[in-house]
């Protein structure tokens, strides 16, 4: 048996599997296990026992969970819509013949600069916008004050969510632009040439040629960006921490606050698995209804 294993190529990948098991499989199993218990870190003297589905029921009957879900969906679909519109527009612009003919506009520098927001870490983005929109000394707030007056963007009950939507739109659009630009490059010119012969307008070419041929790339983009934004955490934690009140408390911040601020570890684990399930459901819907092979 041992000889068989030694001869087999499996022996070379066992260490990798062991490592994977340690850093991936074990935490997942532990997380599932703890989500069925009643562990609260600030009550270490309380006996930790299995409580069945109590944590999941508590989450699914908690108004705060539904508030977090609502906020997450608003931010996700609000920013995603803007990202798709502007990302596709930028992608089309980058692939435009005029762009191709202009040395400066064609250069990688411009594309690199456009991509900066997507390259920044979420914490940096949060700090940048927090400082920039500070009503006392923020430069962005100063510029915007000529249009809207000085505002507390992150503390306002009316402006906090739109501000978060805008920042996520600002961050995610370059990634969308990049993916769609690559997708546009893969579309053959033949249908466009045929359309030109038939006298089609630019809009008709866009609707009847570009969009259908770009659809597979669009679906992948939507899936990837949706999964990213549904898990959004970093810059929201830095800027609002889910406030004012719970107004911008997205699902991941709800999970974080439950686990590490209220120290309800078991309930936090249950919330995390509910979030995972929600993301899986969205992925399933996208693949089933958007990604229909012709």
């Amino acid at each position: 048996m041992l000889e068989k294993i030694k001869k087999s190529k499996m022996i070379y990948i066992i260490p990798a599997f062991l490592l994977l098991g340690l850093v991936l499989v074990f935490p997942i199993i532990y997380s599932i296990n703890i989500s069925f218990k009643n562990y609260v870190m600030t009550l270490p003297f309380r006996e930790v026992v299995y409580v069945g589905l109590d944590n999941y029921i508590d989450v699914l009957t908690d108004p705060r969970f539904y508030n977090s879900l609502k906020v997450t969906l608003i931010i996700t679909f609000g920013s995603l819509t803007l990202q798709l519109i502007f990302g596709l527009s930028l992608a089309i612009a980058l692939n435009n013949k005029l762009m191709e003919e202009n040395k400066l506009l064609k250069s990688q520098t411009i594309r690199g600069v456009l991509f900066i927001p997507s390259m920044l870490m979420g914490v940096i983005i949060g700090l940048m916008w927090q400082l920039g929109l500070n009503p006392t000394y923020g430069i962005f707030n100063e510029w915007l004050s000529y249009l809207f007056g000085t505002q507390s963007y992150f503390s306002s009950s009316t402006l906090a969510i739109p501000t978060i939507v805008f920042i996520e739109f600002w961050r995610g659009t370059p990634m969308v632009m990049l993916i769609l630009a690559a997708g546009l490059k893969g579309i053959p010119m033949t249908p466009y040439e045929a359309a030109d012969v038939d006298g089609a307008t630019s809009w008709q070419k866009f609707v009847y040629i570009t969009l259908p041929l770009l659809k597979p790339v669009l679906v992948i983009t939507i899936i990837l960006r949706t999964m990213d934004v549904l898990r959004i955490f970093d810059f929201i934690f830095i800027t609002t921490s889910g406030g004012p009140g719970n107004l911008t408390e997205v699902l991941s911040i709800y999970a974080y606050n439950t686990s590490f601020v209220s120290m309800r570890i078991s309930q936090g684990a249950a919330i995390s698995w509910v979030i995972t399930l929600i993301i899986l459901i969205f992925s399933f819907i996208y693949f089933k209804y958007l990604y229909k092979r012709e």
Binding site: V40, M41, T42, L43, P44, F45, N134, P135, T136, T150, S152, F154, S155, S156, S157, T240, S241, G242, G243, P244, G245, N246, L247, N257, F260, V261, S262, M263, R264
Partner: protein, 451 residues
């Protein structure tokens, strides 16, 4: 002969005095020495909050190391992750930290957790405890926060923290201001003794055109909001829970307290109060933009900074106001405490460090960093140099604390969310307080405090 014998006796007495004084006097923190077991070569790792606390510890380390030969490694941790860092390490049984300098919030939990080393065996051991330890020198109320019903001591108080009323003497004592104030409000302008007077003074000095504001708070989402509400409720002799653990947040007193707080934040503070941070509060007061502030005593360090402060020698201190002239004050304290971790591999060395850090000698070293003393002797000794210490001592002797049951942290988070919603305008006062009350009642039932 007699003279010779007398001289010998005299010399012997002098020699004995020098000899014994040399041993006993030098073997004590107070006498410039060290008393206790040999801890040279031991490493003591200290976890505390980054900022004032870590700066205070940093100032104390060199002399401790010089006297004992031990090595101290300081781990300053940012506020955002401090609680998590502490609890995850303690819960995991980690020996990463020997000494923890932590606040009072989780005192009941920590005392019952088994994570902290009871200090009685060190304090009562004549071979370990410094001869001048003098436990009775600590102010009793803060000292008792980490003393359980069986008399086990789980911490030595490190930093005396209680909200103090700081006011601008130059503004309040100004004859022109006094005259105008009396004309407008019908009574003498003086440091506020009631909350209504506090609000009147804040309103009176609200002059944005002169860059002067009546008061300032930090209205960021955090535990400060809970303290602000508590000090206004306690001043009406109303706590968050009654003696039967029934929440009191829908009482008229709670509503009055919340409304008063919001009124101040909307009418007598700088604009965009919800974006003002804790450090900005202190800076604004020290720059002379604020007439009065209710703040932890650490603000004194900023007030007395000769390079940046515009209000040196212009600030007076007093207890917090009450709602009526003879009513209870809203004095409320927190505090920071030095513990030995039960998982530590160097418990004796850890104990000697916290003994040093909280000794009469060690206390004075950390004061410039903003960590005020908790020993009566130190407060008395320095009261002329630091007039605030009279108010601080008075407050620490009489102040209340936030609730101290193990599950309080969860309750506090609920209150913070609802209060912040109210302050920022997304909920009314009744919506916020009723929501908190309902959630608290559910939790109290779940935890078996009420039926």
């Amino acid at each position: 002969m007699e003279f010779k014998r007398g001289a010998l006796i005299f010399i012997f007495l002098i020699f004995s005095a020098v000899f014994f004084t040399g041993i006993v006097g030098a073997e004590s923190w107070a006498d410039g020495g060290y008393y206790g077991p040999d801890i040279s070569g031991k490493t003591v790792t200290v976890l505390t909050l980054d900022g004032e606390l870590s700066d205070g510890v940093k100032a104390q380390i060199p002399e401790f190391e010089a006297r004992t030969g031990a090595v101290v490694e300081l781990v300053p941790t940012p506020a955002a992750t401090f609680n998590q860092e502490l609890f995850t390490n303690l819960a995991a049984g980690s020996a990463a930290y020997d000494v923890i300098i932590f606040h009072a919030d989780f005192s009941t939990t920590l005392m019952r957790s088994g994570w902290l080393e009871p200090l009685n065996k060190y304090i009562n051991d004549p071979d370990i405890a410094d001869p001048n330890l003098n436990i009775d020198d600590f102010l009793e109320p803060p000292f008792n926060i980490y003393k359980d019903d069986e008399g086990d001591i789980y911490a030595l108080p490190y930093k005396g923290d209680a909200y103090i009323y700081f006011y601008r003497k130059d503004l309040i004592n100004d004859p022109d201001e006094k005259e105008k104030f009396k004309e407008e409000y019908g009574y003498e302008l003086q440091p506020a003794e009631t909350w209504q007077q506090y609000m009147d003074i804040a309103e009176f000095f609200q002059r944005p055109e002169e860059n002067l504001y009546g008061s300032v708070y930090t209205a960021e989402k955090g535990s400060f909001l809970v303290f602000y509400l508590a000090m206004r409720m306690y001043a009406q002799d109303t706590k968050f829970f009654d003696e039967n653990m029934q929440p009191q947040l829908t009482t008229p007193e709670a509503v009055k307290a919340a409304e008063a707080l919001k009124w101040e934040m909307e009418n007598s503070t700088p604009p965009n109060i919800t974006d003002v941070t804790f450090d900005q509060m202190n800076s604004m007061f020290a720059e002379g933009e604020i007439a009065q502030i209710i703040q932890w005593p650490g603000v004194a360090k900023v007030i007395n900074n000769e390079e940046t402060s515009n209000v040196i020698d212009k600030v007076g201190t007093a207890n917090l106001p009450s709602w009526t002239e003879d009513g209870p004050s809203g004095d409320i304290m927190g505090g920071w405490f030095a513990h030995v971790s039960n998982h530590s591999q160097n418990k004796v060395a850890a104990y000697k460090f916290i003994e040093w850090a909280t000794s009469g000698t060690g206390e004075k070293i950390k004061i410039p960093a903003g960590n005020d003393p908790v020993r009566k002797s130190t407060l008395n000794e320095l009261r002329n140099e630091r007039p605030m210490y009279d108010a601080l001592k008075n407050v620490l002797l009489n102040a209340n604390t936030l609730p101290k049951f193990p599950e309080w942290n969860e309750f506090q988070q609920v209150l913070i969310n609802q209060l912040h919603s109210y302050i920022t305008g997304s909920k009314t006062v009744n919506e916020a307080l009723e929501s908190t009350q309902n959630q608290w009642e559910t939790k109290l039932e779940d935890y078996g405090y009420i039926e």
